[in-house]
Symmetry: C2
Subunit: 148 residues, 2 copies
DNA sequence: TTAAATGCAAAGAATTTGCATAACA
DNA sequence: TGTTATGCAAATTCTTTGCATTTAA
């Protein structure tokens, strides 16, 4: 049950003074209905399935505008292209350096660290923009077992 | 007191079967003696101050090889180029989204989170590759005060 | 009817690669 | 003397920009 429907998001755009175009509505639709962590290129491909003339620059410009309006955020899961999702679904990511598996971090996983950073450094954590890397359970087990 | 001298690192290269060239030694020297978080381009500029003919691709290839040998690691502090440092000095980074300030994360700041990730997900954290973003004390204070 | 969004081509930043030459071991 | 590393140019990848045209409000 996605909390944000396309129509709700469209309303949010209009409130922000942005226009609602075919391409823009499609980008939102793909973000609401599509896969979890699409790159701009994947978004483009899916949008083009419905509107073949939409251009990459349009998608990038839309994502930029949607980000400015607080509707979308982008995350870097590793090297390679950024991934995009709805701001309402913002969450931390754990990515395995070995196999590339991406885990959604439980909401409270950053909690203790956030408190420590706040208390000791005054730093307010917003740990959503970059993934935190490491080794997933399977790869960690393999690394421990297969000692050369 | 840097634990790694250039000569120690050079020895590490030879052990790994790599050759020691002028360019390579200079890259190491700059990493040992230079600023904290140089980008490849900054490294190149500093290297060129001593050996003007060294090329960007050489620096990139050296950094890649040094990383493969476990001597160097690179970190992404934000958008823009990667930054490089000695693996022995690996540490987490906190970067302010507002002003760009970079803080070195205290060694134990990730500790609780690492334990949580291990216990709950089996995930072994190695949180050095990407910075964790947020707001530094000054910008956080400003954000709280200047409520529009 | 006018400011915003689009399509297109071209530029941009950061990094990588192919290949002939040079130089470490 | 045989790899390995280098210099150079050119290619790649992801993203941004300039500009004439179209379109939503």
């Amino acid at each position: 049950m996605p909390l944000n429907t396309v129509e709700e998001l469209v309303a949010q755009l209009r409130e922000g003074g942005a226009r609602v175009t075919t391409a823009r509505r499609l980008v939102l639709t793909v973000l609401v209905e599509g896969s979890q962590h699409p790159t701009a290129e994947e978004l483009l491909a899916t949008v083009r399935a419905r509107a073949p003339d939409v251009h990459a620059s349009t998608v990038y410009r839309n994502l930029e505008e949607l980000e400015r309006l607080g509707v979308v955020v982008h995350t870097h899961l590793g090297h390679g292209p950024a991934t995009y999702h709805l701001a309402s679904e913002a969450h931390g990511h754990l990515v395995c350096e070995s196999c590339g598996a991406t885990l959604e971090a439980p909401r409270d996983l950053f909690e203790d660290m956030a408190q420590g950073a706040k208390r000791r450094l005054g730093f307010v954590l917003r740990p959503y923009h970059f993934a935190v890397l490491g080794l997933c359970a399977a790869c960690a087990a393999r690394a421990t077992t297969a000692q050369p």
